[in-house]
Amino acid sequence: MNCTGSILPDVPNSASEQQHADVPPTPETGQPLWLLAELTYRCPLQCPYCSNPLDFEQRKQELTTEQWISVFEQARRLGAAQLGFSGGEPLLRDDLEELIRAARDLGYYTNLITSGMGLTYERMQAFKEAGLDHIQVSFQASNAEMNNYLSGNQRSFDEKLEVARTVKALGYPMVFNCVIHRENIDQIDKIIELSIELESDYVELATSQYYGWALKNRDHLLPSKAQLVAAEATTNRYREQIKDTHRTKLIFVVPDYYEERPKGCMNGWGNLFLTITPDGTALPCHSARELPIEFPNVADTPVEEIWYRSKGFNHYRGYEWMKEPCRSCDEKEQDFGGCRCQAFALTGDADNADPVCSKSPHRHLITDAQANADKAQPASEPLIYRNRKNSAQLISVQQIEEESV
């Protein structure tokens, strides 16, 4: 760990001696307060904006119950307090009750992030007894037709409604999550009305972010500026309308494509957030697997070693790695140059400024996408659903492309 605020710059006993004078010293590493456990990549839905890696079909290995519990213990000692059970669909793990109980006994606030598919009343009750704190149910739209079209599953909407009602009946706080995009954004009023009718405590209206499957499908998903402005106005109207009668909190997450500055991604690389993928690979964010960086695995490396000393987690800590325009930018301590995964996916070099930034020489990649989103029919290719067949196909195409380079 670097010694910040040292008054002894000449003593060669820390990493700070190697730092260049033109960038601030690397801040002290924060605790991994947020642990995201992606228990499995298996999933009954096929959402085209899924954040799982495109090649999930090649990554079928999953940690055992004991390995997961060991990860929970280790991360808790490092300060982790929030634990998200995610996936894929975490309900497909038969040991979920056991994992919840272990996590709750360790003192975690336990979050189940689920599509709700296949979740019975009995199982929700068992989770409650195991100590589960909260269930987040994802919806794709406000009506069966659109929901089932987007999820690639014909029964999903009715099941989700049933699950959401049971979540409330059992006294859980409920987070209603709906990924917002071009195809459903114009129905945001109906989505909000559904969320209020279901007595949601928190409503996340999160515009899709363009990684993994969502980047492949970006032309289908990115709303136009006009759509976005209208949706925000609608959300504000409902906030005003319900403020005296409901505690439901409406959270609208704007897509960074319409910002002038990038987001301070993950509150800084390896500073707060720790993702463990189904096979035990540890990542500083759930998209980082797409980066050309080697990340450690909890199966053979202690979590403490991973968090504080692994190459992968230290790769983008601090400011030493930065190129221009980030390096001399006076905003780098707020946004850390934006998102490394987005820089890599769009420019081919993860060290570049996030092209969302108007100072980025690659900014045209974002403005081109904005201009395309203004067209009546922005997509020329069909929508690609997140499923095993498409995963296998995308990977074989990628391999062919790599071979031919």
Partner: protein
């Protein structure tokens, strides 16, 4: 103010209050989030159990912190007012 003193506060079911050993502070945990509490907020919430009134909590805090002085009563009242009306951490039974 008298009516507030007789209120029985309870922690809103959306929140969980606990001590974090690795961070050496009390926190309120809620879906996908956490509030780190300062020492006085932590000391007050330690006595919130859904049974004791604010008046009783104040008596307890006076006993716990005899050096606190006259500001204590107003500080606790201000805390509960904000925690109930603005932050929604506290429900009144």
């Amino acid at each position: 103010m008298d009516s507030l003193m007789q209120q029985t506060p309870a922690i809103n079911r959306l929140f969980r209050f606990q001590w974090e050993p690795a961070s050496h502070c009390h926190v309120l945990l809620y879906p996908e989030g956490m509030v780190r509490l300062n020492e006085s907020a932590g000391a007050i919430l330690t006595h919130v159990d859904g049974n004791r009134t604010i008046a009783q909590i104040i008596d307890q805090l006076k006993a716990d912190f005899p050096e606190a002085g006259d500001d204590l009563v107003q500080d606790v009242i201000d805390f509960f007012t904000e925690a109930h009306h603005e932050l929604h951490w506290i429900d009144f039974a």
